[in-house]
Symmetry: C2
Subunit: 274 residues, 2 copies
């Protein structure tokens, strides 16, 4: 899916919600465990319940890999069940030397029909480049993450030797440098929502790029602040909620509750869209 | 496998060679393509041909994922075919927020019987911690990588604001900080061999830890320099070669050539072991 189609979906559906399918088999309602593929049955119900109130789904590959080959099958079936209209993200945090990243890109963009994959930046340009070579596919590179460990390295002040006094943090350098490898048409960044105050600053570095913002809901970020400081002329935001939606209820009403929560996000987002 | 068993294998077999199973289906000998599972058939032959001359195998998960579910199956079969005596590494470069890293740890340490998994450090402590909680399992965290992009961020000078003049590079800070999260019994580091001059310095930061050194062979590192500057009292090295061994020949003699190359590495390593 290209940028203009994504923006059109956001305008039409009046939201920029991404529903995170972090489908932990130990947390899904008990009555689904008797089915042949409980993870897929759960995801199917969640997708049916939320598709009118979101523009994107994010599959957290870790929860599928941990079920072995069966998990991989559930992931594939889920992916094909997501409507054509929705932007499909593999939250996989991949990245390796060029020939290996090329294999990961093949996995998520050719073997599987994802629109985007999340990527860790530590190994630099040749670890991201192979993903950028696919037309209408997206690399979503980690910028600033919302977890506690995000402070360990991302907030360090950095410089190259020639620059003198350091004035940039690592995550700022990452945003700047990675942005130079692609365009706002094939590159997004993960920016943690629990640091909404940083968003205004981040927008001064990368005004055009879409930001994937996790951490609203269970991780505690404020949707209002994210929207106020993160939005650009094309919206430029995909705000993810996973557990807050998919595990809103652990009973037989889980899908109904997922509808209620996602509809709530949609209504709030609709008010923020300019 | 715990550290003393690994060291014992190295002493007994007089080498610290890790054979990288980066099994690219487009590069394996044509005559194998008619079999039911060409990737597994190839790996089986390579393992038979090299097991006497190495102590470890490293499965590059990207090359299996890119074959879809069938690839995952080939990976599992390969893993179970590796002898008990050999240290089994999932080269997967994983790392995410705590609850997600816990799923990855489950995948590689419970669902699959790997001894170790490679991890990207960008997301900090809670992204590594779940892997460290498994007894006799190992986290191999990216320190300094040998690819061109390794310079983009790893070599930047960093400081925290209070520290004044920056004097450490990001990769040094990563080695120091990550080392404080675990012990030399459950933590190793990836250190690129093409920078053998840095190894002496790295040893001053982490004298005890095992280093996984890729980049010897196809990526151009010198085994002699790596061994001279990287070895510690327990050897402390696993030197990986992938393409140089497994694709030594693309003909029907591929296994024989893999034996010759790996035996050559073993003989050279035997001379460096103190």
């Amino acid at each position: 899916m290209n940028r203009s189609k994504l923006v059109q979906q956001i305008r039409t559906k009046q939201n920029y919600l991404c529903v995170g399918l972090d489908t932990d088999i130990t947390k899904i309602p008990k009555h689904l465990l008797d089915t042949a593929d409980p993870v897929f049955e759960f995801n199917k119900a969640i997708i049916d319940a939320t598709k009118d109130y979101c523009v994107s789904y994010k599959i957290n590959t870790a929860f599928y890999e941990s079920q072995g080959m069966k998990g991989w099958e559930s992931m594939e079936k889920t992916l094909y069940y997501i409507p054509e209209t929705h932007f499909k993200i593999a939250d996989a945090k991949r990245g390796d030397i060029g020939n290996t990243s090329a294999q990961y890109a093949k996995t998520f963009f050719e073997v599987l029909p994802f629109d985007a994959v999340t990527i860790a930046p530590y190994m630099g340009e040749d670890s991201v480049r192979p993903f950028l070579e696919y037309e209408n596919k997206w690399s979503i590179v980690l910028g600033l993450t919302s977890n506690a460990g995000g402070n360990d390295f991302q907030q360090l002040f950095v410089q190259t030797k020639a620059e003198g006094i350091p004035e940039k943090r690592l995550y700022e350098k990452v945003l700047e440098k990675v942005a130079s490898w692609g365009t706002p048409e094939n590159l997004m960044f993960v920016v943690g929502a629990t640091r909404a105050n940083d968003l205004e600053h981040i927008r001064s570095i990368i005004p055009e790029h879409f930001l994937l913002v996790p951490g609203v809901g269970a991780q505690g970020g404020s949707l209002e602040e994210v929207s106020k400081f993160g939005m650009n002329h094309d919206c430029g935001l995909l705000v993810n909620a996973s557990r807050a939606i998919i595990f809103a209820s652990s009973g037989i009403d889980f899908a109904k509750q997922a509808t209620i929560i996602s509809e709530g996000y949609r209504n709030e987002m609709s008010g923020y869209l300019r």
